[in-house]
């Protein structure tokens, strides 16, 4: 065991951006790091018991579109109702077919490996998030709690 420490601040609540924090945390834990994850603002979505995450093509020119849609669809096309649900469904099936783990699977692998997950109390109050909607394995804390971990840490990432 290296005994090194890693902290990650997870700020995004979309299907695509759920991956980097959970992939890095689970891998770091497998390498022997003590890992603490802090979930703030939209990142709190990643702590919900029911992970209903979406991905949006809107305002994201880097997202590969299927069937050459980016060629014949103007940017405005990404605003069509139902487009987000369709792209989310497509990405989920691609994820499955490529042998990439689901977000829920990666999250439970993190918990299994004793990754510490801390939800931002202020965000919970701000957005009226219900405690019973969040998984039970988490602690709550604020900025000072984060720095208590980050100050002792070898690597600190903001995602």
């Amino acid at each position: 065991m290296s005994g090194k420490n890693l902290t990650i601040i997870a700020t995004k609540g979309t299907l695509d951006w759920a991956y980097p924090p959970f992939i890095l945390s689970s891998t770091a834990a497998a390498l022997g790091y003590n890992v603490s994850m802090f979930f703030t603002f939209y990142g709190l979505q990643l702590l919900k018991k029911d992970l209903s995450l979406s991905v949006s093509p809107l305002g994201n020119p880097g997202m590969p579109m299927p069937l050459g849609m980016d060629k014949w669809f103007p940017v405005l096309g990404t605003t069509i109702p139902g487009m987000q649900a369709m792209m989310t469904g497509m990405m989920k099936s691609t994820i499955k077919s490529k042998g990439v783990a689901s977000v829920a699977e990666l999250r439970s692998l993190c918990l299994e490996a004793d990754v510490k997950m801390i939800g931002c109390q202020m965000t919970i109050d701000l957005f009226d998030i219900k405690h019973e909607d969040l998984i039970e394995e988490i602690d709550l804390g604020g900025a000072a709690t984060y720095f208590e971990h980050a100050g002792e840490s070898d690597i600190n990432l903001f995602i």
């Binding site: 290296s2 891998t27 497998a30």
Partner: protein, 77 residues
């Protein structure tokens, strides 16, 4: 390839699952035992080298055959 005590079929799995599954298998093994891993993720070649360096488990062998990668990891003390 030489003898092994446990085997892990990580074919079809993508990063970071081969590493996570291997780590789980190694946890249940004793020092000196060897884990054989079969994977199809090309990224796993570099990743298992990095995993071995950082965790003190020895990568005894690494080979490719027809799009499949084989690794032999000896559990460290």
């Amino acid at each position: 390839m030489s003898d092994f005590n446990q085997e892990l079929d990580a074919r079809g799995l993508n990063c970071p699952l081969p590493i996570l599954r291997a780590k789980k298998k190694l946890n249940a093994m004793t020092a000196g035992e060897v884990l054989k891993i079969i994977a199809t993720d090309p990224g796993s070649v570099k990743d298992f080298e990095a995993f071995a360096t950082q965790t003190g488990n020895e990568l005894m062998g690494s080979s490719e055959n027809d799009g499949e990668f084989q690794f032999l990891l000896k559990k460290g003390g």
